[in-house]
Amino acid sequence: MKKTFNINEKGYYGEFGGAYIPEMLYPNVEELRQNYLKIMADASFQEEFHALLKDYVGRPSPLYFAKRLSEKYNTKIYLKREDLNHTGAHKVNNTIGQILMAQRLGKTRVIAETGAGQHGVATATVCALMGIECIVYMGEIDIARQAPNVARMKMLGAKVVPATSGSKTLKDATNEAIRDWINNPVDTHYIIGSVVGPHPYPDMVARFQAVVSEEIKKQLLEKEGTENPNYLIACVGGGSNAAGTYYHYLDNEDVKIIAVEAAGKGVDSGESAATSVLGKEGIIHGSKTLLMQTKDGQITEPYSISAGLDYPGVGPMHAHLYKTKRAEFIAITDDGAMKAGMQLSKLEGIIPAIETSHALAIFEHKTFEPNDIVVVNLSGRGDKDLQNYIEYFNL
């Protein structure tokens, strides 16, 4: 069998993954596990999925050659413009897929967790589109720092429920969503927003996001005469935009992979979200993976200026990529990210999400060859982060 970095039939990436869930979740997760590949393989599903991606989301998203940024760093930088998707980030690729999945599973109620609010907005959006009830759990702190997205969810008819426990951020919102699912085991589908959670979520979300690398291949062939870039770069919160970017290149080791995590105030500052470096193997939200925890196994409260990277775990795919060294992991501080975001704005007229700014900061940390083709997933737009940028730069 050919070596693969993708998931195996038992739901593991190497030693990571699986479904470590309470029995109360078993019927739901099992129903999904037994059906997701079958449903996704269905021609009518694929047709509806791709029609919505095209006409509603606005795919394909462009692969944009960033001329001025490339000049500045003397290499060839392409930006995969997920920021141009409807709702402003890659998250919607997954929620479109999952809402169709939920419909085929006969679910009439949808729940979701959200950090930056992008996944919450993307979920509220597809629920509005399909006329399905939607409840979004969001950490109290994130509600405060991502106010525009909270407003959007309300406009879209979703109920936003604050998570008030723990660090009051993404991890706690996820706990609350899981609790809701336990309490509503029959009619409810839980739309997880990243490649985390119990199997089959990481795989299902990765497959929905895989449209990103599928497009990159075509677009790069058109522009550069080759499907393969030298580098693929993405920021990693849970890891979904990264998974989508890497997906069709995972087993092609000619293509180097870089994953950028949030170092917060510094990897060793105690206020960080650099999961791979700081994490150890363990269980979080139903998945065996790397996570930040005390030596006693209590999950640590992470920190990052970006709400979407402020998660103490990472998807099992990424834990595996880290462990096997298939991907290089780099941690970028708040300051590094904010500067990179401002720079993109000034050089290319694109204001990135602060999550994405972490990925863009790579160019200050690593030198590429003039002929290297470097593809960065521009995972989201920065409209939701304006207040943070303004305050940070005193604009």
């Binding site: 699986g18 479904a19 470590y20 869930i21 309470p22 029995e23 109360m24 078993y26 019927p27 426990s165 723990g166 991890k171 706690d172 706990n175 899981i178 609790r179 336990i182 309490n183 509503n184 085991p185 029959v186 150890k280 193997e281 363990g282 269980i283 979080i284 939200h285 139903g286 925890q293 030596k295 006693d296 196994g297 209590q298 999950i299």
Partner: protein
């Protein structure tokens, strides 16, 4: 014979109580256990607190958070339980999430349990298949009974599988819900209790979730061997402290 199996043989409905170790105060563990036994409780689930107890409701979650803030750890819990078997004889079960146990080392954890006299474990997020493939032999080596949950949504086939893997009792979650979420049992629950009872399983069932007074205890134990009280007891601890546990226990058992 394991204390749990022995207890299950008694000709009575069993009352089991859950509390979070380290709550309300760090050093209450021993006192609570002793007072519960004295009050006539049949079995105790000692909660090993976890930062992210996603199968628990707000009451238990809060007590976990407080316990962690108080400084509770796996090491400390074992220390507090070191001499427990000098004075307590009812079955003691540790209920905790898998990650802290994994970090401790599953084998080391089981060994410690045996040393201090723990009889069984409830690990809600350790799935039965992973358990039977990877950890069953370790548990058995240290004489520990692992207890699995079933819910109203669990299929008959899966219940039979769980029954086959179990060697103590089955934790029968009264309704699909996180702990402490509902008030009182309805027709659905009763049908469910009856259905399970009619399955004639090898392992007796003890009902958990949603039991908070003598009425719900009576309803739950009409078909099952016993019942577990968690949130209601934590609320009692929060309100009245660790001393007058007798009042609480006898309020549950009155009329029985």
């Amino acid at each position: 014979m394991n204390r749990i199996n022995k207890k299950l043989k008694e000709e009575k409905k069993l009352l089991s109580i859950y509390f979070s170790a380290g709550y309300p105060n760090l050093d209450d563990t021993e006192t609570i256990i002793k007072n519960l036994e004295k009050s006539g409780v049949d079995m105790i689930e000692i909660g090993l607190p976890f930062s992210d107890p996603l199968a628990d409701g707000p009451t238990i979650q809060k007590s976990s958070t407080t316990a962690l803030k108080n400084g509770m750890t796996s090491d400390l819990l074992f220390k507090q339980l070191e001499d427990i078997r000098e004075s307590v004889s009812i079955p003691l079960i540790i209920m905790g999430y898998f990650n802290p146990i994994l970090q401790y080392g599953v084998e080391a954890f089981c060994k410690k349990c045996q040393e201090v006299g723990i009889d069984g474990l409830i690990i809600p997020d350790l799935p039965v298949d992973v358990y039977s493939e990877q950890y069953k032999s370790t548990f058995e080596k240290y004489g520990l009974i692992n207890i699995f949950l079933i819910t109203p949504q669990t299929s008959e086939k899966r219940i039979r599988f769980i029954d086959s893997v179990s060697n103590g009792f089955i934790y029968m979650v009264s309704s699909a819900s996180t702990t402490g979420a509902k008030t009182g049992f309805g027709d659905d629950q009763k049908l469910y209790f009856e259905r399970i009872s009619n399955m004639d399983l090898n392992n007796p069932q003890i009902v958990g979730f949603g039991i908070f007074n003598n009425e719900t205890f009576a309803q739950a134990t009409q078909y099952a061997k016993g019942a577990i009280i968690g949130s209601a007891f934590i609320k009692h601890l929060t309100k009245d402290g660790t001393e007058n546990l007798n009042d609480f226990v006898s309020s549950i058992l009155s009329d029985n």
